[in-house]
Symmetry: C2
Subunit: 410 residues, 2 copies
């Protein structure tokens, strides 16, 4: 049998990260490669209680087919949460999705034609590239400075060519992979430029609640509600295995997203939605999320301290995130994070090379480190091992200054 | 703000049925319109126990991100179940999806290009039309006789035109909406024709376990594993609110379906998958499903008896399904089920007009009745009310023979 596959399948590929994780998930490896939240933070007991309550009180309704928009009280709770962050949101603008990954799929279906220009950050979240890819867009990477995507470059790319860009995808808080957060000023500038160009913004915010010292500035969608789609998730503040996210859409787009949702899987499990609605109703998140913040903050501090200690003199640079799960590292000149990974794994430490996160012009020197699943002791050992790998590679690299010279000078 | 939507959104529409259900779900209406399983059959207590066990034993794993293919033991259990029905299936050919609706979405993404010819039954499952529509196929309805789709017509449509049809979508058991089941002979003939034409078959089987007196013949996929995609679901045998289904694919197609799944929502909730895996492991379905069968069988018999009693002499024809949830009815000549619906609702009874289920040449006289959510007493009253509506309409219809004449002769 000779199967004819749709043309779009040529744009669909196995996840590079998934392949990397297979190699790195060996026993004894200290892995900073995963993108998973720390499982010790999952509130197993609270979920068991909420599940019991849902099944006792509304068991049959929770197990029946349900509305494609989502469970009313959950939509209300999400809207209330976002209003508290400065967004003007009604519950009927909230579409509950099967994780925010599905929101990306629906957004792609509704906004992207084959050949549509889609602007992304550089680097950007790999899962968004994968979600949009089946719609066959042409990706363009917006150049960045230290503050994030460059507003003038965004405007240039939005209006270049004969047809305007279809959307810009932005992850303003503690970005995956770079850990970067956009300042309030940069948010204002980007929104002003998007308004001027009539460029829809897709704002993805899975990590915004995981701040360390202070909440990030209000979302882009608070500044320009009618031009933004806003994506959120319960994966990082409760548990990803429930697969619960949402997209908030202006009334001009909501009905088409809803039709796409209905065609895609009818609705997100009502069982899961009711469990989470019960936890929200109970104020559980207000008690729970501060614990995650404190934990991740301590682990991030440990990783930053280890990097300071171990990478001295190795010409390595890294970000200092103000929240989230990831830290972004740039190796010495002449080193390639993909080429170095097998050596790192042999030395007992794993990361994700940064190249996969670039839609254009990958920076081979970059890599992503997750600080949330390893213990402080593992972080210390893992960063020390990584520093050793870098030191040896520099000693062998013709492009880098001799390691010995730097070590004594560092 | 002026949003530019993707071209495919023009092919996406609000569900007709959904709109109808809004009208018909008024208090006091006896509704045969829904497509929902009977909620009294949902095993709330068994699910509570299974959930408790999953959270106690593997809580953190159940709540973490998981493999896009699905939870291993669930894939194994599905494969074992299908092998018992005569299919040669390995667990690694089973992709767990968020309901079988999502399997349709993934199949559409992987097999359908804009303009691809897609063959469907006449009538066919509306949800499949909706799932495929965003990929912008050109639907062609295969003419049927009393036994189901006509094999020679299938061959003609598969090979007509310059480009072969991309797939044929078939629902062989207790079809939604017609209630029809394909005989073993017809299955052989359709598979032989598809093999000859190199036409992939997408076999959807959400109702196969709900047989009344005897299981349906083995699936098409058992006859031609390398040319069929086989879709199944736990929605009708356990509960739809868990959103668990699957697609079994030959090795030539599986990797692309998996990539599409990963891009669509990363994975189906591991929490839900483990709950159902536990129930299957425990042999729960073998004890549970016979109760659903007995119940639906009795309700179907009650509806058939009511139709015999009430529709006598009204020139109405209906199917006698051997399982499933639906019965298909064809009104007297000159009557239009869509036009008649408001009158039926006024008389306190609701159904879904059949026209929505046709990709081409809708038969306006047809309508779908669900026999699973109404009680026997409601079935009796509802069918009597429906017969009255038909009787009055016939009296007013110029095309139909006078009702009085038929009543005395019936």
């Amino acid at each position: 049998m000779n199967w004819t596959l749709a043309r779009r399948t040529q744009a669909m590929n196995p996840s590079v990260i998934r392949e990397i994780l297979k190699v790195t998930e060996k026993p004894g490896i200290i892995s900073f490669a995963g993108g998973l939240p720390a499982p010790d933070t999952f509130p197993v007991e609270a979920l068991r209680e909420a599940t019991d309550q849902v099944l006792s009180r509304d068991g049959r309704a929770a197990l029946q087919y349900a509305a494609s928009e989502g469970f009313g009280p959950l939509r209300e709770a999400v809207a209330a949460q976002l209003r508290a962050q400065g967004m003007g949101v009604d519950a009927d603008q909230v579409l509950i999705t099967s994780g925010s990954q599905q929101a990306l799929d629906l957004v792609g279906k509704v906004l992207i034609d084959a050949g549509s220009r889609v602007l992304v950050e550089s680097p950007t979240y790999l899962g968004a590239l994968q979600a949009f890819a089946p719609m066959e867009p042409s990706f363009a990477a917006v150049p960045s400075d230290a503050e994030g995507p460059d507003p003038e470059a965004l405007h240039r790319l939005a209006t270049a060519g004969t047809v305007p860009a279809r959307l810009a995808y932005l992850l303003p808080n503690f970005q995956n992979p770079s850990g970067r957060t956009l300042s309030a000023t940069r948010r204002d500038e980007l929104v002003a430029v998007a308004q001027r160009a009539g460029l829809p913004l897709v704002e993805d915010n899975p990590y915004g609640d995981l701040w360390f010292d202070a909440p990030p500035p209000p979302p882009l969608a608070a500044r320009w509600p009618e031009g933004c789609l806003y994506l959120g998730s319960f994966s990082k503040v409760l548990a990803p295995g429930l697969r619960l996210g949402y997209v908030v859409a202006p009334r001009a787009v909501f009905p088409k997203l809803l039709q796409a949702k209905q065609a895609a899987d009818l609705h997100t499990p009502g069982f899961n939605q009711r469990i989470v609605a019960r936890l929200l109703d109970d104020g559980f998140l207000e008690r729970h999320v501060p614990n995650i913040r404190a934990r991740y903050r301590a682990q991030c501090a440990a990783m930053l301290a280890a990097l300071e200690r171990e990478m001295a003199g190795l010409d390595v640079r890294w970000s200092a995130p103000e929240g989230g799960m990831f830290l972004w590292l740039r190796l010495s000149a002449g080193l390639d994070a993909t080429a170095l990974l097998p050596e790192a794994v042999r030395a007992g430490v794993a990361y994700v090379p940064g190249a996969a996160f670039f839609a254009e012009a990958p920076d081979a020197r970059t890599l992503r480190l997750s600080f949330v699943t390893a213990s402080v002791e593992q972080i210390d050992r893992g960063i020390a091992a990584l520093a050793n790998v870098v030191r040896c590679a520099r000693a062998q690299s013709p492009d880098a200054p001799a390691a010995a010279a730097l070590d004594t000078g560092g």
